[in-house]
Amino acid sequence: MNVPTVNPARVFVPRDAAARSVGADEVAERIAAVAALAGREIELVRTGSRGMLWLEPLVEVATPGGRVGYGPVTPEAVDGLVAAGILDGADTGAPTSLGPVEDLPWMRRQQRLTFARVGVVDPRSADDHESYGGNAGLRAALDRSPDQVVEEVVTSGLRGRGGAGFPTGIKWRTVLGAQDELKFVCCNADEGDSGTFADRMLMEGDPFTLIEGMTIAAHAVGATEGAAVEGYVYIRSEYPDAIETMTAAIEAARARGWLGAGILGSALEFDLHVRVGAGAYICGEETSMLESLEGKRGTVRPKPPIPALAGLFGRPTVVNNVLSLAAVPWILANGGAAYARYGMGRSRGTSVFQLGGNIARGGIVETAFGITLRALVEDLGGGTGSGRPVRAIQVGGPLGSYLPVGQLDLPMDYEAFSEAGALLGHGGVVVFDDTVDMSLMARFAMRFCAEESCGKCTPCRVGAVRGVETIDRIRAGEEPTKNLLLLEDLCELMTDGSLCAMGGLTPMPVRSAVKHFAHDFGVTP
């Protein structure tokens, strides 16, 4: 076989936590050892993950025709693969030999705007960020006034990717209009929803893009017009790799003059700090997160006042999810109108969907809003990992609805989901096969709420405990019809009587489970 050689061979192995969880470190070590033994010089780059998690550890090798992939690779297989010529990008003929990675159907189906560099660049390298088009958004922003930056984001139609879907530009406009000498830009990276991992993968795979997005936000809310602006990234403690990578990237950005005074030679001054959570799911709720950043118990605040006017330490504060902020550099570099060309209805742009649970091909799918749930679960995801029929899909995390297969044709769109009594949330899609007992999943939703409630609102704090007890009685066959009525009543109370989404939306998975899977509760629908 005549394969043009790249010398030294450039080999890419993810350092992403998911890839590491199935042996990427061991594979990288083995590749380095085998190459050294063979006297072959290689450059080993630890990237983020492409998001094709079923193929991890996915090894890529640079060739003149682009990067070719091999996966999943086990440490034991490395010797054989190197002997078969993978350091020259050879086709080994085995199923693990994937060919050009960008040409894989999973990748071709996507529109990667926010995730364009994840899995491609070395996340610790500021040079890589620049050479792959980074900072174009920040430069474009610095050429504009704060007003113009805000209007570009408004034009893009970008809505909060954390789940609430509030227009990001409108939030920024409010903070810009608030007069104060000190303002804050806070990134909510407390990604606690089961089935979501895009924030983590972005922070581990392309942290400079998040830094860039936050810096643009600082400019947009008035950092060059008399207000001092400070940034915080609140990362959950369950993500040690993301904490490490973000911290390293922030230091590298400071060293480059991308943070601090006179950013990129402009008048902009902005610095950014990582704060680590402490194992409280509720701190993903924005006002709880602010309390936690202030060093307090993470209890929810009533709104108003809205954080945009009186947020962290009472100052005007932008609170945005990782994916919202990371979408901004592309928007500024390419224009809000270009971003708004993607999507459907009032859901503009792309969203980063995450396929997890019992799924054959799990991972990251960034695509325009409007793709159907079926396309995600069946076409891209390949159905269940167990090979059994799909029975239920939970979209939007622990506070999202369980959908039956009859709703697979729903388009991924905020409004379409809302009409169907469901929510998109942070874009997590968790698949269950036909062995699932939905009464247990409803019980878990209540138990999770009982565990994680901040305790401020009685319907949430006490209601969730009563919810577990009531579902236990239903499961035991004690007057199921009567107890289901009681459960419904409790759900109504929690929905109406809780300050935030924890108590207010826990009824979503519970009610949807009862509605669509009544058999599991011992009643005939």
Binding site: S21, E56, S194, T196, F197, R297, P398
Partner: protein
């Protein structure tokens, strides 16, 4: 790693750790992380010291320590093993794995084995939802952990 060089009384060391962070905004949670990193737990006797340096009421510090799951008042075993119990991992057998782990170690969640080797706990999501069941052992995440792989991970600890 110790910022205090492990000299002086515990109170002196807690004071030094707290002082290292006191200039940060809302310093209490970074301080508590640092104290726990240094001593493995946050003891009742540490609270007045932290409160004094940060000019807080002892009750405020106590309130924060007890609110967050990460902060432990009792020492943990040499390795903390946490099993993900969130929905995505439940969809691929996390409940069975949790039962296996409890049987295997002879302890429940939040407990430590008699020999002090392992503290077992539950965690809600490690962000590894496409490669579950996920388990964290001594700060490192492992994916696709069935009962056999779990036993192997335990074996590596002993």
């Amino acid at each position: 790693m110790s910022v205090t060089g492990e000299v002086g009384t515990r109170a002196d060391r807690v004071r030094a750790v707290t002082r290292a962070h006191e200039q940060r905004r809302g310093a209490l949670i970074p301080v508590l992380h640092a104290v726990q990193h240094e001593f493995g737990r946050i003891a009742a006797e540490d609270l007045p010291v932290i409160a004094d340096v940060l000019n807080l009421a002892i009750a405020e510090v106590h309130g924060v320590v007890t609110f967050y799951r990460d902060f432990r008042r009792a020492p943990a075993g040499r390795a903390i093993v946490r099993i993900c119990g969130a929905e995505a991992c439940q969809a691929v057998g996390a409940t069975t794995l949790a039962g296996h782990a409890r049987d295997r170690l002879g302890i429940g969640f939040g407990e430590t084995t008699a020999d002090g080797t392992v503290t077992l706990d539950e965690v809600f999501c490690l962000g590894n939802c496409a490669l579950g069941p996920s388990v964290e052992v001594a700060g490192r995440v492992y994916g696709r952990v069935g009962p056999d792989r779990f036993d192997g991970l335990l074996g590596d600890l002993r």
